[in-house]
Symmetry: C2
Subunit: 259 residues, 2 copies
């Protein structure tokens, strides 16, 4: 029997340490095709490229390319990478799509801004089981060993149980040594907000410009069934994510009140 | 009493005809601040800019700037425009945020790719009532008169009924003469997919590149409670959209089966 075919994408780019860590998790499970952005695309959400030409570049360095791992860099977004991988490079649907490992959290409302999770979601929209991984450490040199220790079992379990149509998993791992991680918790997405502002600066030519800065606020810190609670309490959080954004509660209310 | 303050953004850019049409809808309701991208940002979803400086340019042409309408162009994404408008340009929360009018549909799963709807959603995440408008006509010269005839009443009704916390409205209008539009329907987001491929070309220098192309498939054409059904049958569709992407059905099942 042929080994499963695994497509890997990310949003931190082809050179990110988190991508290399995810490849190491995937290699014992199957054959690996990587399609990742040339540069970092953090915060790029579900963006697709339609106005500029998309290009693919195959990596042929010995370290990047062996019998079991094929790597492509793409000048597009994380979602472009998944689309090109699934519809152009592969002739059949991959058995699994992995995204990440993201340098930084994608829990709570960050799922909406995340290129990592958009890549996973794009795969599940196209019928492949998909999992996005994130580590709560933004450093380029983050230690991914705990994710690597946990990731393989988590992937095998998810594949065994299967995932509902168009549902993917959002896996976040606290930045703790493996010995301090208490286990895996199935969660819902916490209600939270980014409270943000802009730092205004002046360039050497007198022009004003802005940098976004902000901090995350958990609007329900006591709710023990959320991803934010799990992560704050030493657990890996796993949230099943779907593309239906309808607010059914509001739909019901508006139907009663709209004349 | 001061007139309500309305922030307008879009994803087709500051010069789009749909933006001008939306300003005309908003002017009788309140004072208008426009912050729109310098260029078109279609399909940019909830992307935010963090790696390049953001800039704002005030438009001072007589046609673009009167007592009741102030216009800024921004080099960022639709979501950047809303963030800059709400946190930098305005000192208090706007009474309403409008986005669009998009040239083309944002019904069904397109809500995930849409910069127009991401802008509306960003506003509702920051506590403002928000509505995204789209017309099912991709042409730059689309006729927005039917949306203009319907838009004002729809906005007033939504403001009167209020919107739940973090919920915004996704309004799509069929490309029909006003006399053929049957009314407004409250809907859920249809389950649909973009079946896509890439057209491969070769540039004058021998390099390969790709253009995305695809067509939308409605996976539930007979479901009469969806936005796609409403639009195919001559109705304006209104879907309440929320940021919680948790699949509660999958969460329940996985909790039972995950050991």
């Amino acid at each position: 029997m042929q080994k499963p075919l695994i497509l890997i994408a990310n949003d931190d780019g082809i050179r990110a340490k988190g991508l290399r860590a995810l490849i190491e998790i995937a290699k014992p499970i199957g054959r690996v095709l990587v399609v990742a952005p040339e540069e970092g695309h953090s915060g790029e959400s579900h963006a697709i490229t339609t106005q500029t030409p998309l290009r693919l570049r195959r990596l042929r360095e010995p370290d990047d390319d062996d019998d079991e791992v094929t790597m492509y860099a793409c000048n597009g977004t994380p979602v472009d990478c998944v689309k090109l991988g699934m519809t152009h490079l592969l002739s059949s649907r991959p058995d699994l799509v992995l995204s990440g490992i993201n340098h930084g959290s994608n829990a709570s409302v960050s799922v909406i801004y995340s290129g990592t999770m958009a890549a996973a979601q794009e795969a599940s929209l196209n019928g492949a089981p998909a999992i996005g991984f994130s580590l709560l450490d933004y450093s380029p040199d983050a230690d991914f060993a705990p994710v690597q220790a946990i990731g393989g079992d988590l992937i095998r379990k998810a594949l065994k149980l299967g995932l509902g149509s168009e549902v993917c998993l959002n896996v976040n791992v606290p930045a703790l040594p493996l010995s301090e991680i208490k286990g895996v918790k199935l969660c819902r997405q916490a209600n939270g907000t980014w409270v943000e502002g802009y730092e205004q600066r002046v360039d050497p030519y007198g022009g004003k410009y802005f940098w976004l800065s902000g901090r995350y606020i958990n609007n329900e810190p006591d709710a023990t069934d959320t991803d934010e609670w799990a992560l704050s309490n030493g657990y890996v959080s796993v949230v099943p994510v779907q593309p239906d954004m309808t607010s059914y509660r509001e739909l019901e209310r508006l139907r009663r009140e709209w004349l």
